[in-house]
Symmetry: C2
Subunit: 411 residues, 2 copies
């Protein structure tokens, strides 16, 4: 399968934009066309999940209904409308000897995506890979195997009919775990691995892989409320970052507050958070300020924990410098925000916080492909090399130097 994908990828570099976009539109239509087949296959997965007593939240993520199938289809259509970076040349320079040197955007080659539960990942990945000209090998979780196969069949069939090389989109249908180990050893055939799922899955894959991995580990995101913050705005942002959707990686896990405004800021926010069902865990100073509220003591381990639920750790800090050091020490290079009216403080925060997305006066919840104008995403990279933050179509490309001469030789 990997050889098949490699062959396809070599033919995919010369696919025209129009061919790819037409195929994406056909794929979007095919998903809707196969709606009842997909939902039927999904019922099987749901039944198995219930029999195996998977958690209700797992079952919820697994579940497909008519609305979700239409969303999948719309997401593919959206990708067809995105700008296609493949073949564009970033910059041309003319060297003194007359050589013209440019950087051409090209697909990476063959991508392997290993993912868990949510079957819509199948469709998102297929769309992003095709748009960026990469051949794709999908390996979903066994709990979603029937749904994934039904979605894959619809997509691969439509792509092939639209003139995309066979082997552009592949799915490992075996649930045997050894298949993954084998794939992770094929460094000559596969160029990139993207695991999507829990931290343990990602650690396991990256420690076994002979192929480069783009990782998205956990998001321990911070909001820092500066002493020069608009406290009204700060409250809205902090509340949104924690409560609007606590189970995702760009939700805030730790609130940092400048100690000079902590007394004025914290009580009103704490009241709203507790009303929303948020458990608070504070440093000593925070506990003293919020002595009239139910606040647990934050332990050292709280500062590096990704709760993914309605829990918030709060720390009062002496100054901007302490906030930055805290974030760079306990954060996960994901998303961190400062709320301040001071340009100077904002600039220092932007410069020194070492995260893939650094915000001034906005909620950390915006770190995703759609919100960043990328249409969709393969995940959110917490790595430092190649791609950081939401991984979209352009991030799935690389470049090659193209050099035009008229007989130049080296002296």
């Amino acid at each position: 399968m990997a050889e098949f994908a490699r062959d396809a990828s070599q033919r995919m570099v010369s696919l025209r934009k129009e061919t790819k976009n037409k195929a994406l539109r056909k794929m979007a239509a095919a998903i809707v066309g196969a709606k009842s087949l997909i939902i039927k296959a999904n019922r099987k997965d749901i039944k198995n999940a219930e029999r195996k007593k998977l958690s209700p939240s797992m079952v919820e993520r697994l579940m497909l209904n008519e609305k979700r199938v239409h969303e999948m289809s719309r997401s593919i259509s959206k990708v067809s409308l995105l700008k296609d970076p493949v073949g564009t040349v970033d910059a041309f320079i003319r060297r003194p000897n007359g050589l013209l040197i440019g950087k051409m955007r090209v697909p990476i080659g063959v991508m392997l995506v290993i993912y868990e539960s949510r079957p819509n990942v199948t469709a998102d990945c297929a769309a992003l890979a095709l748009k960026s000209g990469n051949a794709l090998i999908l390996r979903g979780g066994k709990e979603a195997i029937n749904s994934n196969i039904a979605i894959f069949n619809a997509l691969a069939g439509a792509a092939e009919k639209a003139g995309i090389p066979k082997g552009a989109i592949n799915m490992v249908k075996s649930v045997d775990r050894r298949a993954v180990s084998t794939l992770l050893g094929l460094s000559g055939l596969i160029d990139l691995v993207i695991p999507r799922g829990g931290e343990s899955l990602i650690r396991k894959i990256s420690s076994h892989s002979k192929i480069p991995v783009i990782k998205h580990y956990k998001g321990v995101c911070h909001v820092f409320v500066d002493d020069e913050a608009d406290l009204n705005m700060a409250e809205k942002i902090a509340y949104n970052a924690k409560v609007q959707r606590p189970g995702v990686c760009n939700a805030m896990e730790t609130l940092l507050v400048h100690e000079d405004i902590a007394c004025r800021f914290l009580p009103s926010l704490a009241k709203r958070l507790i009303t929303a069902g948020v458990e608070l865990r504070g440093c000593r100073k925070t506990k003293r300020i919020l002595r009239n509220f139910r606040v647990k003591s934050a332990k050292e381990t709280d500062w590096s924990e990704e709760y993914l639920e309605l829990i918030l750790s709060i720390k009062a800090v002496k100054n901007l410098g302490e906030a930055i050091r805290h974030i760079n020490r306990y954060g996960t290079s994901h998303s961190d925000a400062i709320v301040t009216e001071s340009c100077d403080h904002a600039m220092e925060f932007l410069e020194k916080v070492d995260s893939s997305a650094v915000y001034v006066n906005a909620s950390t919840r915006f770190t995703d492909g759609n919100q960043f104008g990328k249409g969709a995403e393969m995940g959110i990279s917490t790595d430092k090399l190649h791609a950081r933050g939401p991984v979209g179509v352009e991030d799935l490309t690389t470049y090659k130097y193209v050099i035009f001469g008229n007989g130049q030789v080296r002296k």
Copy 2:
């Protein structure tokens, strides 16, 4: 040392261009100032090398004289004149909700460079790392340890005096091999490993490293002479790519010739190559055409060998497609050239050859940092992710998203 470097790197993100450039100028001067110390230290290494009976070419690479010390110094000065990408923002987009999102160039963090023999690598790496705002840990070969320490002392002292944080440039002075294993496990402190040396060194390091590695494996570079080539130009390019400096990774190892012009093209080139001392290894067709010359039979293994000396394998191919397939199969994603007057053939070659540098009508010998206008290079990447081809200052940076809002929250 790695913790020390990490601390320094966090302070280096906010170094101003002027501070870095001034430090680079002082470092360039310090190298010249320490000239006699450096040459004295180098004599020790040379004596040890001769005692250990290292090959003359090894000793030659190790050797420093007044001229080479001045070259090192000039190379640092040149880096001080390069554009500084750190802190620039590539693109700003305005989202419908008013968020302003840009991509800011930032240093990668802490880099570990592991290298062999040539002591000038010490100076090149220190200059490139400082310019790009990265802290550096150097680990040179034990055969050059005295030279490296002398160079390092001059550089680190000058940098510190010019206001660069202590810990920005570090050197592992122990020659104990376990030091390398320990460093390669420090994935929380070191962000990037760049090995410079032979293929076996690079394979060993990348298989042991828990940290991302930018690799430069061998260069099996090709020149393809198309049936629509200017044969006069083709001869000059092929001769240059093989003979001008055969021991480097961007020299040609295999010549591919379109069979329709092979009879007209090969004899004259073969004569010049043989006069220059090149051993020819041809496919069956090549041998028939060159039956009046001394040509060995090329074996299957010849197509993937990096000779690094005056040996050339030659293959006649049926057409452009076969040439491209040969390159993508046996090449190493380094540098490959087509000689042709046909725009159509040039475009197809550029699009389909999957190498970091693809040439039309020029010698492959131009793939290096200086020739590409990058001033210097950390090596030539044959990887596909993050950086391809000559790795210069900009390639040693990454980016973070910077997001400016005025209170935006996610709905």
